[in-house]
Amino acid sequence: MRPAVGLLALLSHWRRHPFQLAMLLVGLSLATALWSGVQAINAEARASYDRAANVLGLDGLPRLTMVDGSAVPLARYGDLRRAGWPVSPVIEGPLPGSDLRLIGIDLLTLPTEARLMDPAALDLQGFVAVGGEVLVPAGAAARLRLPDQPRLRETADLPPGIALADIAQAERILAAPGLSYLLLSRDAALPADLPADLVLARPAAGEDIARLTDSFHLNLTAFGLLSFAVGLFIVYSTIGLAFEQRRGVFRTLRALGLSAAALTGLLLAELLLLSPAAGVIGVGLGYLVAAVLLPDVAATLRGLYGAEVPGTLGFRPAWWLGGLAISVAGTLMAAAQSLWRLWHLPLLATAQPRAWAHQAASGVRWQAGVGAGLLALACGLGLWGVGLWAGFGLLAALLLGAALILPLILHALTFCAGRLARGVLAQWFWADTRQQLPGLSLALMALMLALSANVGVGTMVGSFRLTFTGWLDQRLASELYVTARSAEEAAELTAWLAPRTTVILPIWSAETMIEGQPAEVYGMTDHATYRDNWPILLGAAEMWDRLAAGQAVLLNEQLYRRGGLALGDLVDLPGGALPVAGVYSDYGNPRPQVIVATDLLVARFPDIPRLRFALRVDPAQSAALAQEMRAVFDLPEAAVLDNTRVKAMSLQVFERTFAVTGALNVLTLSVAGVAIFASLMTLSGMRVVQLAPVWALGLTKGRLAALDFARTLVLAVLTLVIALPLGLVLAWALLAVVNVAAFGWRLPMAVFPADWLALAGFTLLAASLAALGPWRRLARMAPANLLRVFSHAR
């Protein structure tokens, strides 16, 4: 027999069962879509980190700065060069009138590791010429309104958020008092000992953006994997059914002389024909998902890590191929069991529609045993695990363990319910439900994973939101925030404001290296505003006096946790180390931060700009005062902010941050709904044998269908009830383990029962939609279909 003939015979099955084919394609393409969507987002972000690293390896290179944090005088640079130091000057600062950061470099001395893009891409003449060009990222030129506009040139090679100019041009635009820092090449030998007024900072390995954001991407990847697994449940059950229904065909083909190997090969060929088709659809859908989610992801990365990622998606052939490959691999994984069984199919075995869905009780128990082991592992990791990977290991062990135990729990629950039931129909209902469990448990596992992920992530985000809003109120205790454009204006402003406000609190800061990382140092003026409101996590009451006296510092939680510091430990600052007196929460800030007394800040960093102030005023007057201030000093809108607006802006950033997670959550739940639907449709074929006797004994089809419908809802609700506590444990793991490792802060957990109700509603809706088709099918089934059970040998 020619294999092609066999293949045609096999493929004809799908023509007669178009619904099954559709289910297979839907399951596979959904799985591929969510997986490859997440991969696309990750790939885009990684590419942009790479670009940032390639274009400006600056962040990765050692640098010299002045001990006091002031600008490096040009003359000092000249001296060093003449003394044979291989240094290269850099000026950096916010490009006025834009959201870009301007970096001025000296092409001639720049270390080769920091070599910009492709030197050939630079028009050296134009770049270096007096008043030369400023390079900006593609699409940025139109947004810019620079005073005394320099020539702009867009280039695709620049990472978003960065503008590049020759150092002379940058100095002019930024009106810089000197050089920001001096770059050294990575392993440059220093010709002499470091002069006392300079510090050498070597960036700590692994503190670059890509490493920082790894946890976020891992998070997305975990979600992608979860959706992929849930989608594969659908594929698994459809393939299982299609194989089972074709047992007759298989037997005939075998009897006609096709070897088991050839038959398996044919089915493999069939799957390899179908899966790339689904893969193409899936990758296309995934592209859509990624395109929709990417702007929010970009906002998240900017907000949480200060990493710049463009909000639009590029085209990456590798990613398309990857999507196809994962679709094929997923199909083979889902089909492995069926193929294996086919290989061992006895030539004369009769078709047993229930056999493949029928798991022996021992199988369930064995599975539950593995699940219990995984839960124990999760406990161990929760108690003794350290770091991000332990956190993710905990999550994985927890979810997988619970999923494996689920069938046993449902079995026990339905058994008890059956024992407690009084009526004959109720008893049958529970017994029959128990009988459906093996066929439904994969889909129910998928549902439970999706639900608990939803509860877990929802609780985490909700807790975060609650803490965050409270924290914002504490941090933004002052009514108004004003930023002057120059020192003179600042002086005039404070003089004008003095009689009109309760107090004027400077918000000045400097940048320096602490514990080998770039960090912020803020000055704090001793005032009740801070003593009463500042979100202190750790520290005694006298810390305020010690801070004010310049004897101690406060740290943000990130620096405290990452640096492994304790109260009383010394923190190195330019001009001398100081002990830690307290720790405060600082959500959403990727960088380490230290607070010192304002006087101390000014003493140690004399050159910092002194432009920003917080104002305490009668809240009722604040709006009017802001208006007046803007009018009198001709200040732009953004120079005077009231705290409600700042809070609103911060919350908006926050909401965008979690929009992605929310969207993935809903998608995963929907896929779980489709999985249930697929399983129910699969089961409904073999339901007839189980339902026909009950129908014959005096129940209407309508009643049976209604009971069947109710069964699906009951199972969904039971699964939800089990998923709830699991979700809360998940939330705890996210808040207390993963967040601490990934972001450096720990949040108190809050619960949101109203959200659970909404989730219950959604679950019931999804389950109802899934059960609707099978319900209609049964309610409308012709009696002849049911009667066949009794008359024909099957």
Binding site: V424, W428, A431, Q690, L697, G698, P783, L786, F790, S791
Partner: protein
């Protein structure tokens, strides 16, 4: 009259073809009477039985079963008739796979609200099922399953017992034993019996015998 049918017709559609399986069937059955229904394979015996049981509805004719007009009856009324008045034994797959034997036997009687534990116990003894009542259908042999089905059909003391080749899947000796039990228990319960069978030998043990051919019933006189 327990069962009264006249001019019953039933047509099946297969593809474009219409097959008239029953073409004017007349039939009566009195309470306590037993009737054998024979006919070639495909002649429509099962079809007729299903109509009488209210499992399917006739195209035309008159059919009254235990006082219910089956032509006019709604789905709900038909289900109620099956539950309250009819005991069914099919050739196979009689039992509810998710329930054990005890629950299977009692199911219909409990559904009809007529569970009589004493009678049930008597049936279990008579059918020799004592050791099996906690097993599940799949753990029983074909003959054992058919005995359970007979027990279930009789547990609610129905007025009419309908059996479609109840011993068709069994070997001759087992079939005879099961058959003898059925007849004995039906007589004990005072029910009417309509039984489909291929075997003239079995048919001869019933009160009357009718033969279905070409969509119509013909009375077959006993030989002796």
């Amino acid at each position: 009259m327990l069962l009264l049918a006249s001019g019953l017709t039933k047509t099946y559609r297969t593809g474009d073809e219409l097959v008239r399986v029953l073409d004017g069937v007349d039939l009566t059955l009195k309470a306590g009477e037993s009737l054998a229904l024979t006919g070639e394979s495909g002649s429509g015996k099962s079809t007729l039985l299903h109509l009488v049981a209210g499992l399917d509805s006739p195209d035309a004719g008159r059919l009254v079963v235990a006082g219910t007009d089956m032509v006019q009856a709604t789905d709900v009324q038909r289900a109620a008739l099956r539950r309250d008045a009819v005991g069914l034994v099919f050739q196979q797959f009689n039992l509810i796979p998710s329930l054990d034997i005890a629950a299977n036997m009692a199911f219909q009687a409990r559904l009809a609200g007529r569970l009589d534990l004493g009678w049930l116990e008597e049936l279990v003894q008579a059918l020799g099922l004592q050791g099996l009542i906690h097993r599940y259908p799949e753990q029983l042999s074909g003959g054992q399953q058919q005995r359970v089905a007979i027990g279930r059909a009789l547990a609610g003391r129905p007025r009419l017992v309908l059996a479609d080749e109840p011993t068709g899947n069994l070997d001759e000796a087992t079939g005879d034993a099961v058959m003898a039990l059925l007849l004995q228990l039906v007589a004990q319960a005072g029910a009417g019996l309509l039984m489909v069978t291929h075997s003239p030998r079995l048919a001869a043990r019933l009160d009357r015998r009718v033969h279905l051919a070409a969509g119509r019933l013909h009375t077959v006189e006993p030989l002796a």
